[in-house]
Symmetry: C2
Subunit: 161 residues, 2 copies
């Protein structure tokens, strides 16, 4: 039996990316600008978000049309378990990206951000403040550290997912 939960779309993320090909695979590889439109019933929640330089966007991978438990990720040539990757075709197609917050228009419930790595009109589920003291860890990175692909190079996606 699958236990299901229901969530609401709170807005849409507008980006320059109409197709997956050529899109940055992580927000750290992107300097592209995006715009977020929050639906009016949630706009009061944006109060006090000013002066946070970065936020987490939590969103729905709306073009992930299948779900797999093993994938060939961008940073490796071997198949990897889905939970050891950020690939969108996961049991719950939820994405998280850390973007730079450039401006907020509270009266129109709009945000302008930099570093987008998701498709145009991606449905947004949540915004949370990025707080280095909460969110930074020294960490080791399993198969990624052994990959032939340099993580520090820029990486863009093809149409595999």
């Amino acid at each position: 039996m699958k236990l299901r939960l229901e969530f609401e779309i709170i807005g849409l993320i507008y980006t320059p990316f109409e197709t997956k090909e050529g899109m940055p695979i992580q927000s750290c590889y992107s300097n592209e600008k995006g715009r977020i439109g929050i639906f009016p019933e949630y706009s009061a929640g944006l109060k006090d978000l000013d002066n946070f330089s970065h936020v987490y966007l939590i969103y729905f991978f709306h073009k992930a049309q299948e779900k797999k438990l093993t994938v060939h990720p961008y940073l490796d040539s071997n198949p990897r378990g889905i939970f050891s990757t950020r690939a969108p075709i996961r049991p719950n197609p939820i994405g998280i990206s850390i973007v730079k917050l450039e401006n907020i228009d509270h009266s129109k419930a709009k945000l302008w951000v930099e570093g987008v790595d998701m498709l145009n009109k991606t449905p947004l589920l949540d915004i949370k403040p990025y707080v280095p003291h909460f969110d930074h860890r020294d960490a080791t990175t399993g198969w990624i550290s052994k990959s032939n692909y340099k993580i520090t190079d820029s990486h863009i996606s093809d149409d595999r997912f």
Copy 2:
């Protein structure tokens, strides 16, 4: 009109916290151990997660019984917009925590983690690898940086949410 999305629970997070009172308010303030049981149909997705020292847990705040757009967060005495806080009583009660991955038993689909800050039997939605190169930003933190509460001190919750 509210646009709704449906997600599946992929497992449960077992923690020492039966009530909200006394629980760390962020995983960075916790050294408590937890155990995660992944439902058998998702266990293949855990492959290759070994040797990642930290993971993101994405989960459902199952005891958040209301939704508010303004809250009194733990680190401030003023009301703040929900999206500038991590409070659970948000439009979509989705939580994210970065925990230390201590062990995986693939045959039983169980994980042992350190740094839990969620209630016992919290429904899990996703696991993603934590990758410092993807996830670290130098950032400013809005109202939190002006708060009377030192972010570097340890903080535990009461029953407000």
